[in-house]
Symmetry: C2
Subunit: 363 residues, 2 copies
């Protein structure tokens, strides 16, 4: 595990690395440990490299015994207590093969999502049902128009929960019926992904309802409900998972936190996300194009025998610039376009034009 | 809701506030909304106040209809998408009475923890079983010594999960038996709180096992498993909840994130934490004494009809300085002392000395 450290005046990089190695495991000073236990359980400093007057890159290794195959404990070991200390950024993780295998990754992956949607050889299209405040009937009308236009995955806006304007159960029934109708009319295979981000006591009911209604996948915000929830959805419900980055942003400070590709790339994928939404460069948010490319790479790179995950750049993506991003990111991409599709007024026609554009761009 | 904004060159505070109001609710530009829907669902700017050349304090209000009584959606509305934008810090929340009532807060609270432990009129004492890597037998020996010495709550270190060295089920059985034995010998009422932070599929089993074993409370890290898990533990298991701040630290940047007293104070308490661990000033972490006092205040202040929560300052707290902090924080405090108790060698004697010191300090 590699950390970029910012050092306070007089702070020594190796000393700071040594404190991290204890803090994240045994949580006792070295003097209170037997040599055998320190050797077995405490993190080990592999390298310390000064990278600037007040900056260093250090590499630590941990025993897998400290994690078991427990994802919350893995998160805790990665960044639990040291999230409360200044000047520590996790910038690289070499995942042990055994941990990769036991966490398991996507249940469907890019290939699975292509099979579910029938989308071959081209980028996939996604949009969001919004705004919150519309009735379930109105959202379902939008859902039907998008499906007729050929959007592959139509998801709830991630802020649609169980509000009185469009309660979850009614929205689920109406939107799933809408895509079914549209598919029957068009011969398409659009999918509706309801947002199942929910209170802990409600989550199993929402997932069961999504299965019963015939949904093949769901939207969820892992940082709002716990990352390991993804594994539960994968293992107990078999639904495809589209993961939303809500609340992760605080992790992505310049000199603290964790690198975005480790969270939205590695961790989301390891936990089972088949597709991962992130704020694309040039939109309403702040990620650089280089960061986005790194996230794409971490979602799609070889990692044990894990399936790959589909990057879903979003957040102010534009119909006009979709081609630019597809050329840059390649066809294994889920283009999530919301607002600019709504801005075109006729949703079905706007969706169909986008679908044609994406098909024309297929390699 | 009050946000402290940092402004980029040329960025206007009211404009930035307006974008937040849309981003956190309808996620569409104002021009794509009907006037009625914008009025009903979008956040509303109440005040905008310049506080420096590049700084402003803005106040927004939201319709409760955007949340319902859903804690994950509440978190999302508070800081979901805007966590991904720079220069926004949530610094104040006026909780609506209906939301406070529906979230519900602690199931036991300070009064309940005093009743469970028999600790009246004095501060309570807590310590942690560690280090990871010891066997369940060894941890249980430590547990028994602490209980005989009069520590009120003996919790697992938050990194103890289900590792092979001390598997959860065996640790639970041995440590709970150890406190029972010690209590029988001493006439005390020490409690053992196992760490139930666990994969989503395991969590219900661990909670049920804790109940069956006779535990009255548990330790959990809400940010590792989802904050709303606390409400589930409160409502479905009735266990007292000691909450750990692991992974929350990234939220507490100087000019971004959320103020610590809103997360570790308000949110943890609203979700049901009976006691909240935080890194005390002067220890291994970075909170100022003023921040700690604010967290204490938010845990104990009147808030609807919610029970109060017990602040548990920790993180390098020292036997020698415990008196200082108790004078400052008052008797409604759970002193969490780990390493410095271990440093004394004889755990029972060290614990007993600490207990006498705390009793002597009772008002």
């Amino acid at each position: 595990m590699r950390y970029a450290l910012s050092l306070a005046p007089g702070e020594d990089a190796a000393h700071k690395a040594g404190l991290i190695a204890l803090e994240q495991t045994v949580e006792l000073p070295r003097a209170l440990l037997t040599a055998a236990l320190a050797e077995r359980m405490s993190g080990r400093i592999e390298t310390v490299q000064r990278t600037g007057p007040r900056r260093a890159l250090v590499e630590l290794s941990y025993s897998l015994e400290a994690i078991g195959d427990d994802l919350p404990q893995c998160l805790n070991l990665l960044f639990g207590n040291i999230s409360l200390k200044p000047g520590i950024r996790v910038v690289g993780i070499d995942w042990p093969a055994a941990l990769v295998a036991s966490l398991g990754g996507p249940g469907h992956g890019i290939g699975g999502l292509r099979a579910l949607t029938g989308a071959a050889g081209r980028a996939l299209l996604c949009t969001a049902l919004k705004p919150m405040g519309l009735s379930a009937v109105e959202l379902a009308q939008r859902c039907e128009a998008f499906a007729r236009g050929g959007i592959d995955i139509i998801k709830d806006d991630h802020g649609l929960a169980d509000q009185p304007a469009a309660p979850f159960a009614e929205r689920l029934a109406r939107c799933q019926a809408a895509v079914t109708r549209a598919n029957a009319a068009s011969g398409g295979r659009s999918l509706y992904f309801p947002n199942v981000t929910a209170p802990a006591a409600q989550l199993p009911k929402r997932l069961a309802a999504a299965c019963t209604a015939g949904c093949r996948g769901v939207l969820i915000s892992p940082w709002l409900v716990g990352l390991d929830t993804l594994r539960l959805i994968r293992d107990e419900y078999g639904l495809a998972i589209l993961a939303h980055p809500a609340l992760t942003g605080s992790l992505f400070a310049r000199h603290a936190g964790m690198a975005p590709e480790l969270v939205l790339g590695d961790l989301f994928r390891l936990a089972g996300a088949d597709a991962v939404i992130y704020p694309n460069a040039g939109g309403r948010f702040d990620f650089s194009a280089a960061t986005c490319v790194r996230i794409n790479y971490h979602l799609r790179r070889p990692l044990g025998s894990l399936r790959t995950s589909l990057p879903a750049p979003a957040g102010g993506m534009d119909v006009a610039t979709a081609g630019h991003w597809l050329c840059r990111y390649g066809p294994d991409t889920l283009l999530l376009i919301g607002g600019s599709l709504y801005a075109q007024g006729d949703l079905e026609r706007g969706a169909a034009a986008l679908r044609r554009a994406v098909e024309a761009l297929a390699p």
